[in-house]
């Protein structure tokens, strides 16, 4: 039994060693990255290309989730959680709400684009921009080593309440103002109340 087990162990070890020797963990990690990147980019393209705005919104949510996964991939699990909650949850719901409130008769063509010439121009701008950014990205230092910074949530919390306490407070105030503003905008103020 032990022999068998040790054999199996040996085999597995051998396979693992083999796999490690041919760089399989990197491959798997790369595969996971590519998968998530593909989800993100393709959903993003869907957002832009779908004709129905509801589909666009779904695609947007998918893209958000892809990005959230990428955060977790980078060991930023708190950031990923925030992404899922805020984007995947709140923002997505808000946008769907907005679509519902401003709905139009023909939902199938509710996400119109501009004319071909316009699209061509926009595509050129976007493509050139992308190209430039790619060049810049490629020129960045090629680093694959992750930095080890300890517990993420603790680190963020420390920073947030020490060095960045003022922006934190300002952000809180901003959220409050945005809330009030959104309510006033949506509700509307009649001339008589002023």
């Amino acid at each position: 039994m032990t022999d068998v087990l040790s054999f199996i162990h040996f085999i597995v070890n051998g396979v693992m060693d083999f796999l490690v020797s041919i760089g399989a963990p990197d491959l798997i990690m790369a595969g996971i990255f590519y998968l998530m990147a593909a989800v993100t980019v393709l959903s993003a393209l869907g957002v832009v290309l779908m004709r129905n705005v509801v589909h666009s919104a779904l695609m947007l949510t998918a893209s958000f989730i892809g990005v959230g996964c990428l955060y977790i991939y980078m060991n930023a699990s708190f950031m990923g959680a925030v992404q899922f909650l805020v984007y995947g949850g709140a923002v997505a719901v808000l946008i769907v709400m907005a679509i519902m409130l401003t709905r139009r008769p023909d939902m199938a063509h509710s996400n119109p684009s501009r004319g071909a010439l316009h699209q061509l121009g926009a595509a050129i701008v976007a493509a050139v921009f992308c190209l430039v950014m790619l060049i810049v990205s490629m020129a960045s230092p090629f680093r694959t080593e992750a930095s080890h910074l300890g517990d993420e949530v603790k680190g963020i919390a420390d920073l947030m309440l020490t060095e960045y306490v003022l922006p934190f407070e300002v952000a809180a105030v901003l959220l409050l103002i945005a809330m009030i503003g959104a309510i006033i905008l949506a509700k509307g103020v009649s001339e008589n109340d002023a």
Partner: protein, 631 residues
């Protein structure tokens, strides 16, 4: 007597004071205004007499003058002085100007009795005299120019005194602008003097100029002299700038008397006399002066023969006499010119004041052919007028004889043609003056003639002037006018019997001719004018000089002005507007980026970002040398 000399500045200052006081306080009160003006003028007159006396007793002569001056303003290191220069010439002018001014002002009390603006009139009259007196005692060209301009201003104000009449308004404008053209030349001359010699002071120039001529010749000075002479051409009504003088009759008659006799027009002659030390060095300029004067004399006389309005005839006669004075200056006789200036001042003032009396008596009817037989209605005026006519025609022993004779003699010495011109002019003068006298005063009284003898204020100045017209010539001749006022070495001038005889005979012939035509009516004046046809029309229309000027003005002033304006609006402004359009066109193009839609803004923004990023890459790679680390 020193008092009179040191306080000669009071002579122009007092009438100026009268002007200020009247204008500020008593403008609306006729009597007070007249009283102020006349009292100030009387004091000036007394002071002028005292000054003349001082000149005689102190034996101030042309080469030894009394000067007092103070710096008026220093312009960038050049002091410009105002002051007084008293020599016999000044004294004579002061006497003449104050006398005539005073008499004219007294006369004006009567003449302006019914005019509501009389206060203003006396103010202007005082300023006029003050300016002229200031001009007379000037020590420098600049001072003279300043008062010269003031004289022009006063003539403008006084000729246009009846501002509600269009004709007066236009005449005033014409006087100012025409003399202004002369002033332009004169100013150029003065500035050229200042620039060349560093001074415009008469006494300093007097010592500099001969040296300058000796060392550098006369070519530059000739130009200066011609420029300076343009001023007198304008002011003294010489051809071709004489056109304003006849029109100046639009002013009240006392003004005409003042302008034509004592102030304004003689300023030009006086200037040439004052600056004689320059002109006499320049033969070419002297020639020009003589010929301009001679031509003006005969030209104006030929116009006067055919004119009908009383004052127009006198106006052309003034131009003609001024031509005489210029002629005298041109042929080198300062004495003759100044002598004639003095006698002319008296008899021309007399003639004008008579004209004023007559025209007022005729209820503003100026045409002599509508008068007639006035000697019955206005005997005093007639007597004075006769004396004036005799004086101007040069009948001995009246004033004009002596001065005119002196001019003829001087001309004879220098140039035969000029002498002939002067003699013909004398003949014509006698003729048209006789015509004026005969037509207006002899013959029968017209039925509707409203004329009556004038009041005392107007009558007595006539009498005084008549007396002066009788005696001034003889007095000047026998008291040796020339000993006092002369340029260069003095030599006594006796009356040349031939010249005097010829002129007297011609004058008598002219009288006879006029008598035959206009009193006896032996030949019809109409027929003669028809016979002469073309020449008559030419003369009657003043040789169309005015029309010619109107043409020139239309083409070169108004026409050019319209062209310039057109250029300004359609070229200069159009270019500017065009530039503005280019700018707005460019902005149209640029504003494609800003069509009001956020997306367009975003697109442009990202184009900008791309450019910046590319520059950033270029900067990083080329300048900083940072190369990519991905590989």
């Amino acid at each position: 007597m020193d008092f009179a000399l040191t306080h000669a500045y009071l002579i122009p200052l007092l009438p100026a004071l009268a002007f200020v006081v009247i204008l500020a306080f008593t403008r609306l009160d006729k009597k007070k205004s007249a009283a102020i003006a006349i009292s100030m003028m009387s004091v000036s007159f007394v002071l002028a007499l005292l000054t003349a006396g001082a000149v005689l007793t102190d034996h101030l002569v042309m080469s030894a003058t009394y000067i007092a001056k103070a710096v008026w303003v220093t312009i960038g290191g050049i002091p410009i002085s105002m002051g007084m220069l008293v020599d016999p010439l000044t004294a004579m002018m002061l006497f003449v100007v104050t006398t005539v001014s005073l008499l004219v002002q007294i006369y004006s009390i009567g003449y302006m009795a019914h005019d509501p603006g009389a206060g203003r009139f006396f103010a202007f009259l005082s300023l006029f005299s003050a300016s002229m007196l200031g001009l007379v005692i000037s020590v420098s060209f600049i001072q003279m120019y300043a008062f010269w301009e003031l004289v022009g201003l006063c003539s403008y104000l006084l000729i246009g005194f009846y501002y509600y009449k269009d004709s007066a308004r236009e005449a005033a404008k014409k006087a100012f602008i025409t003399t202004r053209i002369g002033d332009f030349g004169m100013l150029l001359g003065i500035i050229a003097c200042q620039v060349a010699f560093g001074t415009v002071d008469f006494m300093e120039l007097r010592s500099i100029v001969p040296q300058y001529v000796w060392s550098s010749g006369t070519s530059f000075l000739t130009i200066v002299g011609i420029l300076l002479f343009i001023g007198p051409i304008g002011k003294s009504g010489q051809f071709p700038l004489h056109v304003w003088l006849p029109d100046a009759m639009e002013g009240p008659t006392p003004v005409s008397a003042l302008i034509h006799a004592a102030t304004m027009v003689v300023a030009g002659v006086y200037l040439v006399g004052r600056a004689y030390f320059i002109f006499s060095q320049l033969p070419i300029v002297m020639e020009i002066i003589a010929w301009v004067g001679g031509f003006t004399a005969i030209f104006a006389a030929s116009i006067a023969i055919t004119q009908r309005p009383f004052k127009k005839i006198l106006a052309y006669s003034t131009i003609s006499q001024l031509g005489y004075m210029m002629l005298a200056l041109g042929v080198g006789s300062l004495t003759a010119s100044m002598f004639h200036l003095m006698t002319h001042a008296f008899f021309k003032a007399l003639l004008f004041l008579c004209a004023g009396a007559v025209i007022e008596a005729m209820n503003d009817e100026a045409d002599i052919f509508k008068m007639g037989g006035l000697r019955h209605r206005m005997p005093t005026t007639f007597a004075c007028m006769t004396i004036g006519v005799l004086a101007i025609s040069g009948i001995p022993p009246f004033a004009g004889f002596f001065s005119k004779d002196m001019i003829l003699a001087a001309a004879r010495e220098v140039s035969m043609p000029l002498y002939i011109i002067a003699t013909i002019t004398a003949f014509m003068t006698a003729f048209y003056m006789a015509r004026l006298l005969f037509v207006a005063f002899l013959g029968d009284v017209k039925d509707d003639c409203p004329a009556e003898e004038t009041n005392a204020f107007m009558r007595w100045p006539l009498v005084v002037l008549a007396a002066l017209s009788v005696v001034s010539g003889a007095a000047g001749h026998f008291l040796d006018f020339g000993e006092w006022i002369h340029y260069g070495p003095y030599h006594e001038e006796a009356i040349d019997p031939v010249i005097a005889g010829v002129s007297i005979v011609l004058t008598l012939i002219a009288y006879g001719l006029a008598y035959e035509i206009y009193v006896k009516k032996r030949w019809s004046a109409m027929e003669i004018s028809h016979r002469l046809g073309f020449i008559y029309t030419l003369s009657y229309n003043k040789y169309y000089v005015d029309e010619f000027y109107a043409l020139v003005r239309g083409a070169f002033i108004d026409g050019l002005a319209a062209v310039c304006y057109w250029l300004d609006v359609h070229v200069v402004q159009a270019i500017l507007d065009g530039l503005a359009h280019v700018v707005s066109l460019v902005s149209e193009i640029l504003s494609i980026a800003q069509n009001g839609q956020v997306q367009r803004y975003v697109a442009v923004f990202y184009c900008g970002v791309i450019v910046l990023a590319l520059y950033g890459i270029y900067y990083a790679v080329r300048v900083l040398g940072i190369l990519g680390g991905a590989f």
